[in-house]
């Protein structure tokens, strides 16, 4: 009875130009907004309620990455003095966990990185390969890169069956 009133939970912003691989899994309650392009490469998995904002620059997400729920990518930098213009680029096999925030502005995250729960990555940060971040600290991941990538891939293959893919909504 209240369907007419509850239609828009998301404020109607501009629909960003998207460029998805056909193997991307993205549910309909992920939030994509902005004016620049959002590119997501093959076999990447986006969880519900993840938020990708390309207002400040384009977003590129590599292959076989995972963006978990409530992660925010491309948000406005917190510290305007040090902010740089530009977008966000994530490499391959990157895992962005729950509530993580990645600011826009030439931010680059290397292959195989894990951005852990609730961490925030500032504008212009360049993070190398296989670094784990949690709450302001970072450390190298000691596990073998190949084993970890295999683990990420297995996780994607299982979870993509649980998330209803709705790519067409964003096109």
């Amino acid at each position: 009875m209240s369907t007419a009133k509850r239609q828009s939970t998301v404020p109607a912003g501009p629909k960003p130009p998207v460029n998805f691989s056909s193997t991307v899994t993205i549910p309909k309650d992920a939030v994509l907004q902005g004016t620049h392009s959002i590119t997501i490469q093959s076999e990447t998995l986006i969880h519900p309620r993840a938020r990708l904002d390309s207002n400040l620059g384009s977003i590129l997400i590599g292959r076989r990455s995972i963006v978990q729920e409530r992660a925010q990518i491309g948000v406005e930098p917190q510290n305007i003095d040090t902010a740089i213009r530009g977008g966000v680029s994530l490499g391959d096999y990157v895992v962005v966990e729950v509530n993580a925030v990645i600011e826009a502005g030439g931010t680059e995250i290397g292959d195989g990185s894990v951005v852990q729960v609730g961490s925030r990555i500032g504008s212009g940060a360049k993070i190398g390969e296989t670094v784990v971040l949690s709450n302001g600290q970072q450390r190298a991941d000691k596990r073998l890169a190949d084993a970890r990538k295999l683990g990420t891939l297995k996780q994607i293959n299982v979870v993509r069956k649980m998330i209803r893919n709705d790519q067409d909504k964003f096109k």
């Binding site: 409530r70 709450n135 683990g151």
Partner: protein, 199 residues
């Protein structure tokens, strides 16, 4: 049209669970709420992440795999912005999520992300905490605000933990009634007809 006014911000189930209409529950068919559970706005519960690996205990193979992803006890309270997410790992070469079990009278503070395997009865978890994957929190544990409990940590009964990464910093004093978290009182203060907090 009078029904619209009756309809409140919470959905109250037969067993007395109060679920905010603004909560994001995914895979509700895989959740078991123990009764009188409060789920506040913006809580996200990932019941859709079910176990895919067969259970090791049911070696008979005839029993259907249990699809409960998240199970809670009575009088649990999930504050605004909490995320409950079953932990996942590789098990015998396959990736699988594992069910999360939460005991009775568990309080979880604002914006905390829980990926624990088990949370015991009467545990109290503060706000802005991160509970790592497969952490086991036993009975009556208190996790202070902002603590980051690392993955696989086992917290013994009656401990107080804090810090990043979390360590045991003390012990919960003896005593306290059967309702030391005050969750029965808290339960009656939310919902469509909230009662006064003073008993």
């Amino acid at each position: 049209m009078s029904r619209r006014q009756v309809k409140g911000d919470y959905i109250e189930t037969e067993t007395g669970n109060k679920v905010s209409r603004k909560a994001n529950l995914l895979g509700t068919q895989n959740m078991v709420l123990g009764g009188k559970v409060v789920i506040q706005p913006e809580v996200m519960i990932r019941g859709d992440l079910v176990r895919t690996a067969p259970s090791s205990s049911s070696s008979g193979g005839t029993a259907a795999p249990s699809t409960t992803a998240i199970q809670t006890g009575r009088y649990c309270f999930f504050s605004k912005g909490v995320v409950l997410r079953p932990p996942g790992r590789r098990y015998k070469g396959q990736f699988s999520h594992m069910p999360m079990r939460i005991g009775h009278h568990v309080f979880i503070g604002q914006d905390t992300v829980v990926q624990a395997a088990t949370i015991g009865d009467h545990a109290r978890i503060g706000k802005n905490c991160v509970i790592g994957e497969f952490a086991i929190i036993k009975e009556c544990v208190e996790v202070l605000d902002g603590a980051v409990v690392p993955p696989n940590m086992v917290i013994p009964n009656y401990s107080i933990v804090a810090g990043q990464p979390a360590r045991v910093v003390g012990e919960v004093p003896e005593g306290g009634g059967p309702d030391e978290n005050g969750l029965r009182g808290l339960y009656s203060t939310v919902g469509n007809n909230p009662q006064n907090p003073d008993m």
